[in-house]
């Protein structure tokens, strides 16, 4: 395969970081992040550390600020306060190492472009304004489409795709960036079972390549199966850590308030370190 190798150890870059020790190796570290619309905070003074190894889920009720946390960390929406480091560097200096997968419902799929064009958007930063996209970059983009099982759709107009296929194309675009940190906003929202499997397989493959994966996730039933770490949020940080110790009934109760039935919770979560 024609994959470029990239340095994966942040400290190689020779940058001194003044923040807490944990952020030295963390893939994504957020300190005091606050986002507010008017004077109503969407997320308030959030500290979060997402490990460089394994897959992390951001979990919380609707309106808890899960997507907002990702977007604000990336600078997609303005933040009121807080700083964000990626592999120990300020986020603005680490753009090339970050791949973002927005919610597929957030764009107009009638836009005049093809599947291949969308995947190649992941290469725009690398090739620049006028760099060639034919040849090797195109082969690479095709490889990425292949990894999500969409190679046959390269020439399709994006308006013809189903919801699950749209999600896979967005994932392929992120893969094309060949980043070290993958941030996904609800990658399993509204997709078919086959897509969910395809996406999770790709994410697990990324994990085995020592890439960091952080996903906003809404399906409590699959948190234990899919993820290694979990970050519970409801405007403020509720808890974070390995799923085995963090994804507990108490913590979920704290995040969701009375909105989850207790019997239901017991089936989903780790109780007293069981499982």
């Amino acid at each position: 395969m024609s994959r470029a190798t990239q340095p994966t150890i942040a400290s190689d870059r020779g940058r001194t970081v003044e923040t807490a020790n944990a952020s030295q190796d963390a893939a994504l570290s957020v300190r005091g992040l606050t986002v507010a619309y008017g004077e109503k905070p969407a997320i308030f003074s959030v500290d979060a550390t997402f490990e460089a190894d394994g897959m992390s889920a951001i979990v919380g009720p609707n309106g808890a600020g899960k997507s907002t946390l990702l977007k604000a960390a990336l600078g997609v929406i303005p933040r009121l306060s807080g700083d964000v480091h990626v592999f120990g560097e300020p986020v603005a200096d680490a753009r090339a190492r970050i791949a973002y997968v927005p919610q597929s419902a957030s764009v107009d799929w009638d836009f005049p472009t093809t599947v291949m064009d969308v995947v190649q958007m992941g290469l725009y930063r690398k090739v620049g304004l006028l760099g060639r996209l034919a040849g090797q970059p195109r082969d690479w983009a095709r490889d990425c489409l292949d990894r999500v099982g969409m190679a046959d759709f390269a020439g399709r107009q994006i308006g013809q795709l189903s919801g699950g296929q749209q999600q896979r194309v967005f994932l392929a675009r992120a893969l094309a960036q060949d980043a070290d940190l993958y941030l996904l906003d609800e990658p399993f929202a509204g997709v078919d079972a086959a897509t969910e499997r395809a996406v999770i397989d790709v994410l697990k493959a990324l994990k085995s390549e020592n890439k960091a994966v952080v996903a906003v996730h809404h399906d409590l039933a699959t948190v234990l199966d899919y993820f290694d770490h979990v970050f519970l949020i409801n405007v403020r940080r509720i808890a974070e850590g390995p799923v085995a110790t963090t994804f507990t009934t108490d913590n979920l109760q704290a995040a969701y308030g009375g909105r989850l039935a207790a019997t239901h919770l017991d089936e989903l979560t780790v109780v007293d370190g069981a499982r």
């Binding site: 990336l74 005049p112 006028l130």
Partner: protein, 404 residues
């Protein structure tokens, strides 16, 4: 020769030729630079920007007269119009970003206020320099009468720069128009790229002011991209298609208006562009209205044919006249509704295919293709002969269709 052909081949005099070439170039530049604002769904901002040029024109005139120069000097008027258009653009951007007002409210407010101010200034100028024909009203609807070689040069150079910039910046602009959140995550300055899109629109507007006028220039910025969208599915090609449509509209419009007395150039150009839009809307392959209608008819026919054949197989009477007509035309039923041998064979086949679909749906439950297992696509189109043989194997030997 008839006047239209004379004008078409630039034989209708120096001024007519100059106007035709200038209008063609302007149309091309407007179509190409209007593409991304349209795709970003911010096309109407260009309308406000165009109207916001008027106070600039008036103020520049006053300023140039005040310092003792010729108030009608084109570069000065262009600079003035660009200045107020830019202010208008920033005000819209500021209102949409910093206040609770939405962008359309900002567009409306800026358009009205700037245009109103411009008209007031224009009126004042006319009373001030009584007897002195400033001719600034021609900036409202455009005028071709006094077009100079120098004006055509301004359009050619300014237009080329606008097209070149659009082409150079097509990747970031595509990214921002399609998925601005992703663009921001990649580190692009979305706000600056948005401003650049609008700056291009503004540039085309100010160079086209004198020829087409500020009220109608917006049509040249919007209609060609909208029409081009019917013909292409790729944004990079849309730049050139929209440019082409704009160029043809500009040239043809100027030629038409030159071939008869008293036909205003700007409005005729817009009408030509609108005609191209209408033709595209109706007849474009794939996205056109006629194509969509035909597709729908074909789909309806497939649904009825399937229903009819299933009814034949089940020996139900067919009551829908359209279904009967369809089957009769294919020779599958006789005039009295009794199936022909061919009809019975087709009915048997479709019954079998129905059962094959069921097996297929069971096997491939969640491959994401299931949406296409509607029984309307011929089963042979989706599956190989081997796969169908596998379904048949599961189904067992063909069952005898009753009545066959």
């Amino acid at each position: 020769m008839i006047p239209f052909l004379d004008a078409l081949f630039l034989q209708a005099g120096y001024n007519a030729a100059l106007v035709a070439i200038g209008a063609g170039l302007l149309g091309f530049a407007a179509g190409a630079s209007g593409t991304f604002p349209f795709l970003r769904k911010r096309a109407l901002i260009s309308d406000a920007v165009a109207h916001a040029t008027l106070p600039g024109v008036a103020l520049a005139f006053v300023a140039m007269v005040a310092i003792g120069g010729d108030g009608r000097s084109l570069p000065g008027l262009i600079a003035g119009s660009a200045a107020t258009a830019w202010i208008g653009l920033l005000v819209i951007e500021w209102i949409a970003r910093r206040t609770r007002l939405s962008e359309d409210a900002a567009i409306g407010a800026v358009l009205g206020v700037f245009f109103g101010t411009g008209i007031v200034l224009l009126t004042v100028i006319q009373t001030m320099s009584a007897g002195r024909q400033a001719g600034l009203e021609s900036f409202l609807l455009g005028s071709t009468a006094g077009m100079l070689f120098q004006d055509a040069i301004v359009i050619a150079i300014g237009g080329s720069l606008a097209v070149l910039t659009t082409w150079l910046m097509r990747r970031p602009m595509t990214l921002v128009a399609f998925d601005s959140a992703y663009a921001a995550a990649l580190g692009y300055d979305v706000r600056r790229i948005d401003l650049m899109m609008m700056a291009l629109v503004m540039a085309v507007t100010v160079i086209g002011l004198k020829l087409v006028g500020l009220i109608l220039i917006v049509a040249l910025l919007i209609i060609p991209p909208v029409a081009a969208r019917f013909w292409t599915d790729r944004s990079s090609r849309m730049i050139w298609t929209a440019g082409g449509i704009g160029g043809v509209s500009g040239y043809l419009g100027a030629v038409l208006s030159a071939s008869a007395p008293a036909l205003p150039t700007g409005p005729i150009i817009v009408l030509v562009a609108a005609s191209i839009f209408l033709l595209s809307l109706l007849f474009a392959p794939d996205r056109g209205v006629v194509a969509a209608l035909l597709r729908r008819r074909r789909f309806q026919a497939r649904v009825h044919r399937r229903q009819g054949l299933l009814a034949l197989a089940a020996q139900h009477p067919i009551r829908e006249a359209y279904t009967l007509r369809l089957l009769r035309r294919e020779g599958l039923v006789r005039a009295d509704g009794v199936p022909t041998p061919a009809g019975r064979a087709q009915a048997a086949k479709i019954t079998r295919d129905e059962r094959r679909w069921e097996v297929a749906r069971e096997i491939y439950q969640d491959t994401g293709l299931t949406g296409r297992y509607d029984g309307l696509t011929p089963i042979e189109d989706l599956f190989t002969i081997d796969e169908i043989a596998e379904f048949d194997h599961r189904l067992g030997p063909p069952a005898r269709v009753e009545g066959a």
